[in-house]
């Protein structure tokens, strides 16, 4: 084990937090869908891959402007997210009492097919994606920080604040919270639960695709990249609390710090996942709802049983 100097220690923390914001974004995507529908959308990995690959193909091969790339990725994420709901989930959510096993398997299959499709079209090579912002490091104290590391927290902040405002201050948000708190009660007063579920998939699809866009310069573009991100996001959602908004953010930061920051810098990146597993298992054992998962998911009263 190398003895860390102060600069690398701080850099590892910043790098970890930057990746952590991406994991947090994916964890929120998982949790939003989970809270609204009780479905753990295993197809999310394919959506991330799509975001990564599109940001390379559109930005590098086709030389689109960055805003056009972002727009295309958001549109694609929305479409792909609603497709995953339409194909993998809608039929199963109708009627059945317990759907967690079935939807897990169907979205898993969908995700695998999606990833395989991307691999067929894109090939199995890895392409580096240049930074969207200046590659020149910004010196803070004596730590040189790549500007990209400021982008991911900014996006997470925008998404978090936007979602918070949306859920707390709009009619749609109130309806969503009602569905999260009590789907049966909400449908009895005339709320269309199915529509809220569809919107949660769309929003989560956008978040997953955007997190792919953010991850592209950090991880390079390749067909299987989504799986890598989802594994960390699993851990983030589990540690923070499945179905919790704050939990997703905090879990993402913890996972980024441990898995992508400190462990690779001072130990060996091979130990990142085993270490996270060793953290996740006791957390789920002693606090099955995670550190933040409790009543009040996404600003609603009460807790959804999944």
């Amino acid at each position: 084990m190398t003895i860390p100097t102060l600069a690398t220690f701080e850099l590892a923390i910043v790098a970890g937090l930057a990746m952590g914001c991406i994991y947090g974004l994916v964890a929120i995507a998982y949790n939003l869908v989970l809270a609204a529908s009780g479905v753990f959308n295993m197809a999310t990995g394919a959506l991330i891959t799509t975001g990564v690959v599109m940001s390379y193909v559109l930005g590098q091969r086709l030389n689109w402007r960055i805003l056009a790339v972002i727009g295309a990725i958001i549109a694609l994420g929305a479409v792909a997210g609603s497709m995953s709901e339409l194909i993998g989930v809608r039929r199963l959510l109708r009627g059945a009492r317990s759907v967690s096993h079935d939807t897990m398997v169907s979205t898993l299959g969908l995700g695998l097919a999606g990833e395989a499709l991307v691999a067929l079209l894109f090939g199995n090579d890895i392409y580096p994606v240049p930074s969207y912002v200046s590659a020149k490091s910004i010196q803070i104290g004596n730590v040189p920080i790549p500007p990209l590391y400021f982008v991911t927290p900014a996006v997470l902040l925008i998404v978090a604040v936007g979602l918070e405002l949306l859920l707390r201050h709009t009619e749609f948000g109130i309806i969503t919270r009602a569905v999260i708190a009590d789907p049966e009660g909400a449908s009895l007063v005339g709320v269309s639960v199915a529509r809220v579920v569809q919107w949660s998939f769309v929003a989560a699809g956008i978040m997953a695709a955007v997190s792919g866009f953010l991850a592209a310069p950090l991880l390079s573009a390749s067909a299987g990249i989504g799986d890598t991100v989802t594994v960390y996001a699993f851990a983030a959602a589990a540690i923070g609390g499945f179905g919790s908004f704050r939990g997703g953010v905090v879990g993402g930061l913890i996972v980024g710090l441990v898995g992508s920051g400190l462990t690779p810098a001072f130990f060996n990146s091979n130990w990142s996942l085993p270490l996270l597993y060793v953290i996740v298992v006791p957390v789920l054992f002693f606090r099955p709802k995670g550190l933040f998962g409790r009543a009040g998911q996404f600003g609603s009263e009460g807790e959804r049983r999944v």
Binding site: F40, M42, I87, G88, R91, L92, A96, S98, S100, H101, D102, T103, M104, V105, S106, L108, G109, L110, G111, L112, A113, G114, E115, A116, L117, A119, L120, N124, D227, V231, F234, A235, A237, A238, F242, N268, N270, W271, S272, L273, P274, L276, Y277, V280, V281, L284, F285, F286, P288, V306
Partner: protein, 622 residues
């Protein structure tokens, strides 16, 4: 084959036993037909998948646990054999048992969080575990060979030379057959009934004395064995193992196979592996179309059939080839008074509650409730909806632990005991919504009562020991007798619970409680939805149970039934005992009942408006 206390799988009705034997023989003789097919190890890989799918079906289909760590176990078993073979020079027959032990340990470890979390939580954790494989292999590169894997593992030898390919194939096949038989033996035993019960209705299983934790731990451990054997043998056959041999795609293949074939169906994994295996061989195992086809197949499997192909065939078979069974008489009119043969109990029990209180948040469900139920009597708790009746029952049977107060049986406190421990002391109960395993027959469900207290051990069930036979015979006899006591006709006992109307299911629950030979029987609205004749029968049965020295604690809204059955009434209002006393020798007229109950309540309030509705329906008067 004689059926002994078995949950005979429904598919046995249309898939004859001879097909199993035939398939086995064909597979055993396969190398004679085409030995070159064995060279690439693909057929062997299919057998590995089959074994693992049987294990997954066991733990997911029958056990209900989303436990998808099979690739981890297969890989660990492969490395165990590889490392022992390379470093110690040990052959497959030494390394395979060790690999199986390693695999069991991993299976139990990965199932540990299942003590606290279930469903997709466990699935996500399983995925996390599978994703660890490359990291761990890299982290211990000096042992595992890192990403390149371990080569030159000692192959299966014969007379000091490498055995021809058919030898390891036959070894693998024999193990596959053994796993298949073991799975069948377990599922069709009393242990299997407990497994299904804890999957569908954990509360009912627990109230019948099943220790769900123990059953689930055993399921996890057992499911590790096939993967251990398969992973180890496959490494020996290939003389190679690597972190890429079994991956997330393996999870998909196994899950897809079990879902497509039919989870919780014996033939499900066979059919599913055959389909997915054929697809994979068709496009080539390393083709990039393979995951695409696999993914689409899994989606189709998950979306189209709930019970897989086998389940669909089962439904069709039932619709077109089985007699319409749900119609006709459910209850035996055999002239014998029901309950006549209930054996008397030695020492009459005495259940006492003192100062039992329970709060849920701001709601006081029970407020210092004290009551005594003596053997030989029926005590009925009445009260409006939300007055705390079911909470009271849950406190007695151990699903809710009271905030204050004491519950004693024969003077011994039982407060701290879990519900399955209480079942062993003589508690049994029924549920407001009957909790029965729908795919099992009535008799099998009733047998849960007997098996909960005298469980079949895993080893007995696997090996079909004399003790297994003895217990199965005893449980069958007890269950049959219990069904007779409550007046279920013999034909009904052979029906699947899924085919029964709600009313009969309630009666089956009473039979299950009787089969447990309990001394304290708690019933939650046992006659809701029953017709008058059935009510009279249940009433007679309960009187007979009381006459045998047992204690009955009853919750019921139906006043004529309550008055004709109870020795003692307790009125709950807002969690407090408002009044209590013996019922009068009243005629069953609604007017009198209403007047009586208003007096009983001590007020002129309409607290009981809801209650006499059923009574009015049954016996319209005035």
């Amino acid at each position: 084959m004689r059926r002994l206390g078995s949950g005979l799988p429904a598919e046995a009705r249309f898939i004859p036993f001879s097909l199993e034997v035939l398939l086995g023989i064909v597979l055993l003789l396969f190398p004679l037909a085409d030995s070159s097919a064995l060279d690439a190890g693909r057929v062997e890989l299919l057998l590995v998948y089959l074994m693992s799918a049987v294990a997954l079906n066991f733990v997911l289909g029958y056990g209900g646990e989303m436990s998808i760590g099979q690739p981890v176990m297969l890989t660990a078993a492969g490395y165990t054999t590889g490392i022992l073979s390379i470093h110690m020079g040990w052959q497959w027959w030494i390394t395979t048992p060790i690999a199986a032990v390693v695999s069991v340990a991993i299976s139990v470890f990965m199932g540990l969080p299942g003590i606290r979390v279930r469903g997709w939580y466990l699935g996500v954790l399983g995925f996390l575990g599978v994703a660890l494989i490359p990291s761990i292999a890299n982290a211990f590169e000096s042992w595992t060979g890192g990403t390149t894997g371990l080569a030159s593992i000692i192959p299966v030898e014969y007379n000091g030379k490498i055995a021809p390919q058919w030898v390891p194939y036959e070894i693998l096949l024999i193990f596959t057959i053994l796993v298949w038989i073991a799975s069948r033996n377990l599922i069709s035993s009393g242990w299997g009934i407990a497994l299904l019960a804890q999957r569908d209705h954990p509360h009912a299983a627990s109230a019948s004395g099943v220790n769900s934790m123990k059953v689930r731990a055993a399921t996890s451990a057992l499911a590790g064995i096939p993967c251990g054997i398969a992973g180890s043998l496959y490494a020996s056959i290939q003389q190679f193992t690597s972190p890429q041999t079994f991956t997330t795609q393996t999870v998909l293949l196994l899950l897809g196979a079990v879902m497509l074939g039919g989870r919780g169906r014996r033939w499900g994994p066979v059919l599913g592996v055959a389909v997915f295996g054929a697809l994979s061989l068709w496009v080539g195992p390393f083709s990039s179309y393979n995951p695409l086809i696999l993914g689409c197949g899994v989606v189709i499997a998950a979306l189209l059939f709930k019970g897989g192909v086998i389940g669909a065939v089962e439904t069709l078979w039932q619709r077109y080839f089985m007699p319409k069974s749900a119609s006709g008489r459910m209850m035996a009119g055999n002239g014998r008074p029901p309950g006549a043969m209930i054996a008397p109990i030695g020492t009459p029990p005495r259940l006492e509650l003192t100062g039992v209180s329970k709060r849920f948040g701001g709601v006081t469900a029970l407020d210092s409730v004290g009551l005594t139920v003596d053997g030989g009597t029926v005590l009925t708790v009445v009260g409006a909806n939300g007055s705390g009746k079911t909470t009271l029952l849950n406190c007695v049977s151990g699903f809710v632990s009271p905030d204050a107060g004491q519950i004693t049986l024969n003077g011994k406190p039982v407060n701290r005991l879990a519900s399955n421990r209480r079942a062993h002391l003589g508690f049994a109960r029924s549920f407001q919504v009957p909790q029965l395993v729908e795919e099992l027959t009535v008799l099998d469900n009733v047998m849960l009562g007997a098996y909960g207290l005298r469980p079949q051990t895993v080893l007995d069930a696997l090996l079909r020991t004399p003790r297994y036979r003895k217990r199965a015979r005893a449980a069958t006899a007890t269950a049959t007798a219990a069904c007779q006591m409550v007046g279920l006709s013999e034909r009904v006992t052979r029906l699947k619970v899924g085919e029964l109307p709600l009313a009969v299911r309630r009666i089956v629950e009473i039979a299950r409680a009787l089969a447990a030979d309990a001394s304290i029987i708690c019933l939650d609205e046992p006659v809701a939805g029953l017709n008058l004749a059935e009510q009279a029968q249940v009433s007679q049965t309960l009187r007979a149970i009381a006459a045998s020295g047992r204690a009955v604690l009853l919750i019921e809204h139906n006043l004529p039934f309550v008055l004709s059955t109870s020795d003692h009434l307790i009125l709950l209002r807002d969690g407090k005992i408002a009044d209590s006393g013996a019922p009068p020798e009243a005629e069953d007229t609604t007017r009198q009942l209403g007047a009586y109950f208003r007096a009983f309540a001590g007020t002129g309030e309409d607290t009981f408006d809801k209650i006499p509705v059923e009574a009015e329906d049954d016996a319209p008067a005035s």
